[in-house]
Chain length 371, copies 2
């Protein structure tokens, strides 16, 4: 158990935005909301998953919607409490802990608002180990845990409790309601026991995010290479360095979709990288060949400052470095890939772990040098 | 208090379809479902609104969606019970009565399925005195009664409980969920006390519908003029006699919208009637002039048999007679017209009660004869 104060927020926001792979909400908005909650109600109590009693009732909380909308329509701060209370009433027993549904600039700290207002401990974990665009893409789905009953609320005062026959149905209905609510909503779902949480979450996401942020900020203070420091800390691979030269965006069925084109500079001069986005980065194509894909993490950093850039922040002319990192191993199982692999998102490609792609690339490079 | 048996169903279905003004669901589907419920569980107990205790908890039940879909996707029969039970749990006290939300071939008897399975009495009343396409178009809205908490369920097993800040928001969110559920859903909403129901409903809709059906069936057996008998029983006015020559249909935002064009025959020879439809008939234009509009009832009957024709049944070549009848006087108030008048539906016309339109037409005809 530890206390989380607003001094730690900047590190956390940086690292969570790295893990958010472009999505998971805007870290600036997340920091604002979390800081306000801590200032009003005092520090957050964060507990390790191993400290959670097996019979605890843990309810993850998150913001749902298109990130492009979230930065313009800020939550009022109370709607997540409305959703939480609606779910607690439905469940008929007190919720004892909350936790992040995903890692991301905003959604890592969404539970903080709740925890501060209701004086609940936050478990240091999340359900993805990164951010994904759809509700069913959580590790508990792999174990057959239902996302429902799920509660939703908007800043106007509307709320909905959903019970569905599958987590795909939860996503479908909740997405429509979110669109009605103005393309963003606050949600509470995947109610679990402490025992389930320990099995079906990625532990210590907050610690990891804070550590990524701490390393990055320290490196920046020492005028070091922040991009390299982040890459090393997450065990990632450098995919590309270049400039954003084109972005085609559309908000489609409540998602922010985009295709970003980057022209290489420096080590990548002469090459082109295309990133396909659905809230998060899904696929990276280097000169037409797949360089990385979901469920592995594809992360865009400012080449100069090393700051993570969310997909809604991408702009023409930005000079960026794209790195990729391995996802949680549970996503690499056949069941995991069925839920979050490239084919689910409509890409007719096989998933190859980023480590294997890199090893194969190095072998090809060695052969071509040997020729 | 009276018993309602399946012998009365044919009369009721006929009359309810007349009052449904083309919507309110298919009477054949309604009869099938109600007959099945009565055969399995015994006769329905119907009580007069005056017999309902003031502190009763009355919950209306209905099917929501595009009528064109409802006839192809039949309810499983149990989903309305799922919705009802979800609402009862949310309300935290036993529901004592159910009632029709609207008059219509299907929705007049939707509560019967529920009443038979849960052994609840059905109050002889409805919330519109006709059918309207949107949820907020119920008399309780005029008194500021909330449609929520509202429960919804589909035939697959998904259910949703909605709480909104206004009844327009209820309609908006419930419509999206209905579209997800396959364009039809079973709903329970406008939970009221017995005292509220007595003030905010149209009493004895079932008795009226049965009586319309009885008169029609008796006239048919005697080879009389069924259209004239129905028109007289509901205090209606004959608008047009003719043949359907064109129908343009679209399912738009979960509604069945249509425009039907009729060419006059007999007394209407040389004239053209255009009917604008959103689930129900909204506006009738005779040779370009408004002949009748919401909230008054516009009803299409088969010219030969006198059978009411729902908007989804309309087909090229049908020979029909169109009649119009006055709506409940509460819909004619400024507040009523704001909710269900022609301008709400996007028609830039003033509402004129059908009696006044007819009187004006007769004066014009008299003047033209006198010339």
């Amino acid at each position: 158990m530890r206390e989380f104060t607003s001094e730690q927020l900047d590190d956390l926001a940086f690292g969570a935005a790295v893990l958010g792979t472009g999505g998971g909400g805007n870290p600036y908005v997340g920091t604002l909301l979390a800081r306000q909650a801590i200032e009003e109600h005092g520090p957050i109590t964060v507990v390790d998953p191993e400290e959670v009693p097996d019979d605890a009732l843990v309810v993850p909380a998150a913001m749902m919607g298109a990130p492009t909308i979230m930065v313009e329509k800020l939550p009022a701060g109370n709607e997540i409490v409305v959703a939480f209370k609606a779910l607690e009433e439905y469940l008929g027993r007190p919720i004892t802990h909350t936790v992040s549904a995903e890692a991301g600039g905003l959604n890592s700290v969404t539970p903080f608002t709740l925890a501060a207002q209701l004086d609940l401990p936050v478990v240091d974990a999340d359900l993805m180990g990164r951010a994904f665009p759809e509700l069913q893409m959580c590790l508990p789905s792999l174990s057959g845990v239902s996302a429902t009953p799920m509660a939703m609320a908007d800043e106007k005062g509307n709320s909905v409790v959903i019970s569905t026959i599958s987590n795909r149905w939860t996503e479908r209905i909740a997405r429509s309601v979110t669109i009605d609510m103005g393309c963003s909503s606050m949600i509470a779902l995947y109610a679990m026991t402490g025992a389930q949480l320990k099995q079906m979450s990625v532990p210590r996401t907050l610690l990891l995010a804070e550590d990524i942020g701490r390393v990055a900020h320290k490196t920046a203070a020492e005028h070091g290479d922040v991009v390299a420091a982040v890459q090393e800390r997450i065990g990632g691979f450098r995919l590309f360095q270049g400039k954003i030269v084109d972005i085609a965006r559309r908000t489609d069925a409540g998602f922010a979709k985009a295709e970003a084109k980057l022209e290489g500079t420096g080590e990548s001069a002469g090459s082109t990288l295309v990133l396909e986005v659905q809230n998060e980065h899904l696929v990276a194509r280097l000169d037409g060949e797949i360089a990385a894909s979901v469920p592995d993490l594809i992360i865009m950093l400012d080449s100069e400052s090393g700051e993570p850039i969310t997909t809604e922040e991408m702009r023409y002319g930005f000079r960026v470095t794209v790195i990729a990192a391995p996802c949680d191993p549970r996503w690499r199982t056949p069941e995991g890939l069925e839920l979050v692999g490239p084919r689910y998102f409509g890409y007719d490609i096989d998933y190859v772990p980023i480590e294997k792609r890199r090893a194969a690339k190095q072998r090809r490079a060695a052969r071509s040098r040997g020729r």
